[in-house]
Symmetry: C2
Subunit: 199 residues, 2 copies
């Protein structure tokens, strides 16, 4: 057991920089009091404050959730992208997954997958197997060790997910998925999103 986290908590620069003040508005919805204070009384219209608050919350949520997962995974000798790659291979295909497919699952560039798989291969968790059907490509497969580690990591990650989403009801979780997917669609498919808006 390494006491990295305990030490880190004491060290300047490592402390948790973002410390929002969670307050409920008159409808019972949470907001970050510090941020709202900064923005109010400066001639910014109400809608824009609402927009800025929501988008800021989404971006920060994505970040802190990722960091939260990373913390646990580090104890299992994995980074978050490494873990996600193992999951991609586990769930993507029994026969191994092409680098490009991993990139799509992770939502990163193929070049980045090269680096992640390099690291996983160095750890002995995956192997690159030449694809007989396409001599440019590899199938990336889990080794026995990789299988074992990914199962263990998945178990703790499952607990983390529960911890993070524990305060949300089943309905709220679905709402959250829906609203963030709407945001993603607005960015990825502006036209489709507009049509929906007009109905």
């Amino acid at each position: 057991m390494h006491a990295v986290t305990d030490e880190a908590a004491l060290r300047p620069g490592s402390e948790d920089i973002y410390r929002p003040r969670f307050v409920e508005d008159d409808e019972g919805y949470l907001y970050d009091c510090g941020f709202r204070d900064m923005l109010t009384g400066r001639g910014i219209d109400r809608d824009q404050v609402a927009a800025a608050e929501a988008l800021r919350a989404v971006v920060i949520a994505g970040k802190v959730v990722t960091q939260r997962f990373e913390e646990t995974l580090v104890k299992h000798g994995l980074t978050h992208p490494q873990f996600r790659t193992l999951m991609a291979i586990r769930y993507g295909a029994e026969t191994g997954l092409h680098m490009h497919s991993i990139a799509i699952w992770l939502g990163v560039t193929p070049r980045n997958v090269t680096a992640i798989v390099d690291a996983l291969e160095a750890l002995g968790l995956v192997t690159r197997v030449p694809d007989p059907a396409d001599r440019r490509a590899f199938k990336v497969k889990l080794t026995a060790l990789g299988e074992e580690r990914s199962v263990a990591a998945m178990r703790v990650n499952k607990a983390d997910q529960r911890a993070v989403l524990g305060t949300l009801t089943t309905e709220e979780t679905k709402q959250l998925r829906h609203l963030t997917m709407k945001l993603i669609r607005a960015v990825k498919e502006p036209e489709a999103a507009k049509e929906v808006r007009q109905k």
Copy 2:
């Protein structure tokens, strides 16, 4: 006008790697069909699939929104962190802001703010003014050029925010803020979040 984005759109590796298939479930809530397909029929319980979907959507939403903003800002010669720093200074204090305060606003480490401010100073958009009240510290202030640029960038960013949130109603925007803030609180203040859960 540089045609960076047009060229990039044609180049392999630069294409949009994550291309979700947006589908509505029977309640009218959006989900990513490709991801759900990967996970179903593999002995994963329904709750965990729901959790994984929601968290994945949050993380991706944070990422794509950031990228979307970045794209526009690049045309104005600013990165997203640079822009956010300018905003922090504009809204944080008329008299200039300490590096540490900027770090808190941005939610990054003080060390990182040093680098961002270095870049902004090199661009001539801000200046470090020694703080007479604390000789360790600087007040970072906008220059006239920085003022001008930040106003212009703010205008386009406002339009971007509207574009991204355009498909959400006012109520949905508040819901989104609320749910993501709940997530942030669950990570940042696990105890407080648990209490709420028990009421």
